[in-house]
Symmetry: C2
Subunit: 196 residues, 2 copies
């Protein structure tokens, strides 16, 4: 982390932790960037070197997040039908969300869910992820509309599985849940006689 800001190791993580705490305890609207910076022992200027705004601070780097999916597709490690390539990439990217991250991820999701602006930002990040996956598939020669359909399906499975992973009673690894949801999507489409 922090390739461009090597001179302040940990600043990014500290700002994220401080923001999450303040959003959870005082609320997103009531918290200012100045307060986040202060709580992290840093300046507002440092905040804006790392994040564009108050919303971005609790989202990871989009390129890091997307990278896990896109690089797996680009590697060509898995060949076969488009959705099989996507499913392999989605389950591989689950490594990013280890079980030790679960308490943090649950806390973070509760904050995101609590505010419309953060929920919107999350939706847009997911849409960007789907776009990046579709592009990675096209780069491998997969035509439209298969590329977009497979990418959007993969992101839908990821979102549904991620919510189940975060559920209070859940103890299963994310990749296992994702495999189950992919299978559910398959049986759902197979069951539908769509050419009525």
């Amino acid at each position: 982390m922090g390739r461009m800001v090597r001179w302040e190791p940990g600043a990014r993580d500290r700002l994220q932790a401080a923001a999450l705490d303040l959003y959870a305890t005082r609320g997103f609207d009531e918290t200012t960037v100045a307060e986040i910076a202060l709580a992290a022992g840093l300046t507002e200027r440092t905040f804006f070197r790392h994040f564009a705004d108050k919303r971005e601070v609790i989202f990871g780097r989009q390129e890091t997040f997307q990278g896990g999916f896109v690089e797996h597709i680009a590697s060509g490690e898995v060949d076969g039908p488009p959705l099989a390539i996507v499913a392999a990439a989605v389950t591989a990217a689950a490594d990013f969300f280890r079980d030790e991250r679960l308490p943090y991820s649950r806390h973070r999701q509760a904050v995101v869910d609590s505010h419309p602006e953060l929920r919107e930002r999350e939706l847009l990040k997911m849409a960007a992820l789907a776009g990046a996956i579709a592009q990675a598939l096209r780069d491998r020669g997969i035509a439209e509309p298969a590329a977009t359909l497979a990418a959007e399906s993969g992101v839908t499975v990821f979102r549904v599985a991620f919510a189940q992973w975060l559920a209070p009673e859940s103890t299963r690894p994310l990749a296992d849940i994702e495999r189950e949801i992919f299978a559910e999507l398959q049986s759902l489409t197979a069951a539908a006689s769509l050419t009525r």
Copy 2:
């Protein structure tokens, strides 16, 4: 239209047409609400009685748009697997987008595509549509995650089909394109051997 503002028939349509023209000719950023109102022969106050902001003006009423999908699901007219219910609702809602609307819809989409803020707003409208469809399915007793998977798949098919409908060379009715994309989604998921 205009249930709450009966005393100004046509105001909503005039504001939408004026906004679309100004966004296309001068750009979204360069156009003010005052200018839109002036071009429509109305006041700023009237604008804000109809629309929350500059972005909303080129989107139809979300409830009208969603209604075409949701009411069809709620009617119970189509029974069967969740995705068959969704596919029937999506193709039925295509009646809203008649071929005589095509020039307007192409013009509108070009404006939406030209500005990140409008593209974002459109993504959020689509996410809201998927949420409303999932809710309509749950109201019919369909459990999660099937409800969300079917709803998201239906919206993905709608979006992909809608883009093809708008394509310059396209002449086919939206519902026909939607049926084809649903079939493509089926073959895509059937082909994927996901339990590697």
